[in-house]
C-alpha cells in the first residue's frame, strides 16, 4: 500500500493503543465492579459522621424523662425532634447539653394554626388568643403537655 496510507494507519493504531493503555492506568481500581462507577464510593458514603444518635441513646441516661413522655401525648415525638444535636454548637450532649429554648416560636413550629394542618391530630391554636405573649413552658410541662403547672 502507498507509504502515505501506511504511515497514517500505523500512527492511528499506535495512538489508539497508547490511549487504551493510558485509560487502563488512569481508571480507578474499583471502577466497574458493580456498575459504571467507582465501587469504593459506596464505602465513602457509608463512612460519614452521624450527628443524630437515636432515641435509644438518650434513654440510656434519661429513662425518667422518657417514661414521663410515654404517658402523655408527646410520646410519638422522639427526643431529637426538639433536642437536635448541634444546638449552641453541642455535638456531645454530655459536654454541652442540647437545651431547648421553650419559646413561642419553637412550639409554634408544630402547633401554630394553619389550615394546611387540618385534621392531622396535632392541637393547633392561635397563640395570641390562647395566652398572649406568655411562653408555653410557663404552664405546660414539655414532656407531659397535659400536666399543667397551675
Amino acid at each position: 500500500m502507498p507509504k502515505i496510507i501506511f504511515r497514517l494507519l500505523l500512527s492511528f493504531i499506535v495512538f489508539v493503543t497508547v490511549f487504551v493503555l493510558i485509560q487502563q492506568y488512569l481508571t480507578p481500581n474499583s471502577f466497574g465492579k458493580y456498575g459504571h462507577y467507582r465501587a469504593n464510593a459506596i464505602n465513602d458514603n457509608k463512612m460519614r459522621t452521624s450527628h443524630y444518635k437515636g432515641e435509644e441513646n438518650c434513654v440510656t441516661c434519661h429513662q425518667d424523662v422518657y417514661d414521663l413522655k410515654s404517658e402523655d401525648v408527646h410520646d410519638r415525638v422522639r427526643c431529637e425532634s426538639c433536642h437536635f444535636p448541634k444546638i449552641a454548637g453541642s455535638v456531645d450532649c454530655e459536654v454541652m447539653p442540647p437545651k431547648v429554648e421553650g419559646t413561642l416560636e419553637f412550639c409554634a413550629q408544630c402547633h401554630a394554626i394553619n389550615l394546611g394542618r387540618l385534621k392531622k391530630g396535632v392541637p393547633q391554636l392561635d397563640f395570641k388568643e390562647h395566652k398572649g405573649d406568655q411562653n408555653c413552658i410557663e404552664c405546660h410541662n414539655v414532656h407531659a403537655p397535659w400536666e399543667l403547672k397551675e
Binding site: 458493580y34 456498575g35 458514603n45 452521624s50 443524630y52 410519638r76 415525638v77 422522639r78 408544630c110
Partner: protein
C-alpha cells in the same frame, strides 16, 4: 524494485506489531488487565439477592409542615444552613376558592410553614415533603458523563464526591429538583437516604425527627416492614409518573395539584 518495497513494508509492519504487542504485555506487568477477569460476574449475582431495596413512604395525611425534617437533614448532612440548598424540603399547597393554587416553601419549610392566605379564601391546603426519589430508572444516573453518580446495589442513588467533575448535567436531568451544586465541595449533592445511617441500622435523620411519623423508611423486600405495610394499606402514588422514573418514594394522599 516494487517487491523490494513491499518486502520492506512487510518487515516494518511486523516489527512495529511486535513492538506494540511486546510493549502491551510489558505494560500489563505494571497494571494487570482487570477487564479480563472472569470471576467477578458470579460474585455480583450472589450478592444482589442479599441486598435490601430501600424506599420511603410519605403520608400526606399526617404531615403538619413543621419543617423539622428539613432542619434535621441540614444538620445531619452538613448542608449549608443558608436558605438555598436542600436535600429535602416541605411545600405548602394552598388551593384558593377561585381555583388558583399557591405553592410556597420559604427556607424549605424550616421553622414551620406559616399560613399566608386568609382563611376565607382557602378551599383546601396541605403540606408535601419532597426529597430525592431514588428512582430505579434514574435520569440523573443516565446522564452523568463520567459515572460519578450511580445506584448502589441496595437501591440508593449516591454521588462519588471525589469523581464528580461538576458539569451539572445530573442537576438538569432531575425532574424533581432534588439535586444541587454544593458550594463547598463543588460537586453535585442530594439526599442519600442518610446512607451512612441506614447502613448501620439507623433511620434517616428526617424520619428520626418527624413528630407525626409522616415519613416511613424501610426495605421494600422485607414483607414485614412498616413501609411494605404502608404500601399495602394505602393507595400510593409517585411524583411525575408520566416520566417513568420508577421512583421509590411513595405518597399517600397525593392531590392532583402537586407539581
Amino acid at each position: 524494485m516494487g517487491t523490494e518495497r513491499i518486502k520492506k513494508n512487510r518487515r516494518t509492519f511486523f516489527k512495529s506489531s511486535a513492538a506494540l504487542i511486546g510493549g502491551t504485555l510489558l505494560y500489563s506487568l505494571i497494571k494487570p488487565f482487570e477487564g479480563l477477569a472472569q470471576t467477578k460476574e458470579e460474585d455480583i449475582q450472589e450478592d444482589k439477592t442479599n441486598f435490601p431495596l430501600w424506599g420511603m413512604g410519605v403520608d400526606l395525611e399526617s404531615c403538619i409542615g413543621c419543617g423539622k425534617c428539613a432542619e434535621a437533614c441540614k444538620i445531619e448532612n452538613n448542608v449549608p444552613i443558608e436558605p438555598f440548598y436542600f436535600r429535602t424540603w416541605v411545600e405548602q399547597y394552598t388551593v384558593k376558592n377561585n381555583g388558583e393554587v399557591k405553592i410556597e416553601s420559604p427556607n424549605g419549610g424550616i421553622g414551620g410553614l406559616k399560613q399566608s392566605v386568609p382563611d376565607d379564601e382557602i378551599f383546601k391546603s396541605f403540606m408535601v415533603p419532597k426529597l430525592c426519589n431514588h428512582c430505579t430508572k434514574a435520569p440523573c444516573v443516565q446522564a452523568c458523563p463520567v459515572g460519578a453518580t450511580f445506584i448502589s446495589p441496595d437501591g440508593v442513588v449516591l454521588v462519588d464526591e471525589t469523581y464528580c467533575i461538576g458539569c451539572s448535567y445530573c442537576i438538569q436531568a432531575c425532574p424533581y429538583g432534588a439535586r444541587y451544586m454544593n458550594p463547598v465541595t463543588k460537586v453535585a449533592d442530594k439526599c442519600t437516604f442518610c446512607y451512612h445511617r441506614i447502613s448501620k441500622g439507623l433511620q434517616p435523620a428526617c424520619v428520626e425527627v418527624c413528630p407525626t411519623d409522616a415519613r416511613i423508611f424501610g426495605n421494600l423486600k422485607d414483607k414485614k416492614s412498616d413501609l411494605v405495610k404502608f404500601l399495602q394499606n394505602n393507595p400510593t402514588q409517585v411524583l411525575k409518573p408520566h416520566l417513568n422514573t420508577h421512583s421509590r418514594v411513595f405518597y399517600n394522599g397525593l392531590s392532583s395539584e402537586v407539581k
